[in-house]
């Protein structure tokens, strides 16, 4: 479904040359939920923008259902890390959610329905008439998610969407993403720096190295599809997986070139 091959992105300008992403290759199958984890600044946002057609890669290519991505593809929705700035302060919440739908060929009644459903599914049914800046940070993020849901995307790209919400809301939103993914069969690429979140949400976790970024490891999360905050997080398998990802991230931060072995003998 989603193919990233040999992706490289170098930012150039104002005398600085930053190689944000060196060489990334991975695929995401149709209807899969994949989490990307990596140290801060390793190029996760850059990668996601290349996938979303918002940035042109320096080398390599991204293709969606066999077609090369060279601009934002239809049927793809993006939830930005800076959700506050991603909502338009001059529009009410309902209009923010509705705006992308106006590009689609939908009747007014159908648009209303989609907006209402999307807001209801993030628990903000009565916030449609408010301005985004009248809402809390967590509520704003839920509006941004509702906007993506109302768009009925086939592919959903989420960039650390829950970084700024409290633990309880975060747990609810995680369950919401899992539920929507299972109900609607969307393909989701979810960026996070939270290891527990990655393991809890994903069917697969891709661990990125520190910059210059390559794929460090891909891990299948063989937890049951039915997950819940209380039981899944204390399951022994969950602990194993999170430890595995944790080790990989630590190794990535140290910049080790090969996967670290925990039982390496002390040198000398």
């Amino acid at each position: 479904m989603l193919d990233v091959r040999g992706l490289k992105k170098v930012y150039e300008g104002s005398g600085r040359r930053i190689e944000a992403v060196r060489d990334l290759t991975f695929t995401v199958g149709a209807g899969e939920l994949v989490c990307l984890v990596g140290p801060s600044g390793c190029g996760k946002t850059t990668l996601l923008k290349c996938v979303g057609g918002l940035l042109a890669p320096t080398a390599g290519e991204v293709s969606l259902s066999g077609r090369k991505v060279d601009g934002p593809p239809p049927g793809m929705a993006f939830v930005f890390q800076e959700y506050g700035r991603s909502l338009f302060p001059w529009m009410r919440v309902g209009d923010n959610v509705e705006l992308p739908l106006r590009q689609k060929d939908l009747s007014r009644a159908r648009r209303r329905e989609l907006v209402g459903d999307a807001l209801a599914s993030v628990g903000l049914a009565d916030a449609a008439g408010a301005y985004p800046w009248q809402l809390s940070g967590g509520m704003q993020q839920r509006v941004a998610i509702a906007r993506a849901l109302a768009y009925e995307p086939e592919v959903l790209l989420m960039d650390e969407p829950f970084a700024a919400v409290d633990a309880q809301t975060r747990a609810d939103l995680e369950d919401l993403v899992r539920r929507l993914w299972r109900e609607r069969g969307i393909t989701i690429l979810f960026v996070t720096h939270d290891i527990d979140e990655a393991v809890y949400l994903g069917e697969r976790v891709i661990v990125l190295s520190a910059s210059p970024t390559v794929v460090r490891e891909q891990l299948r999360v063989d937890l049951p599809a039915e997950r819940d905050q209380v039981h899944t997080r204390v399951a022994p398998r969950f602990a194993e997986l999170r430890t595995r990802v944790y080790e990989q991230i630590q190794a990535a931060k140290r910049g080790a070139a090969t996967p670290a072995k925990a039982d390496m003998p002390p040198s000398g």
Binding site: L54, M76, E82, S86, W133
Partner: protein, 257 residues
Amino acid sequence: MRGVNAALGAAGLAGFLALGEAVPRLGLVEEDYFPPTSRIADALGTEITDPAFWTALGDTLTGWALGLAIAVGAGIVIGVVLSVVPYLREATASTIEFLRPIPSVALIPLAVLLYGTELRSVLLLVVYASFWQVLIQVLYGVRDVDPVAEETARSYGLGTWARIRHVLWPTALPYVMTGVRLAAAVALILAITAELVIGAPGLGARIAVAQTSQAVPEMYALIVVAGLLGLLINVGARSVERRALAWHQSVRGEVTV
């Protein structure tokens, strides 16, 4: 607090008017050139019963409104086009920096050559002066577009026109409003200047006639009218601005807290 300020303002104005009455009466200044307030008020009373005065006021307002409308329309359209088309902004920057500081009044001879004392003469000057106010603000406003908002719009497949309408325009609107308010003030100045100097019909021309016929109180009365006009225009522009930017003011309020 507001009430106190208003009372202070009214008291200050009353004091000023009283001073205007007293100083000429006491012979501190030549009464022929500085008539006391009451005589100016008399003259104003006579003016507003004269249909010719209202025609002149109408002419001035026509020149002002038409010129302002043209300047605002052109300023917005050209500003947006310059910003949206790649490289156009850079290509035109130096030309704009050259043309903008030319004082509009320097174009009076040109206006006379082209259009004589017609309304079009006034329009030329008014449009030239107010156009830059709007254009510069639009150019600043467009630069203020949040890259995240822009990327959001692109990611949802909004085309160029939809992005102008839903992202660029609302972002630039506060700047545009400032531009319009400045342009409205400048347009009035230029309209009256043009009438005064060129003799195009309007309040300015009437002031010139009053001056040459030694009708000094009438001249002052007309100057007062011009001042009141400026005041009304400013108050009007501010209230339009407040209404259009209700969301924006609140955002600002939230940020500064």
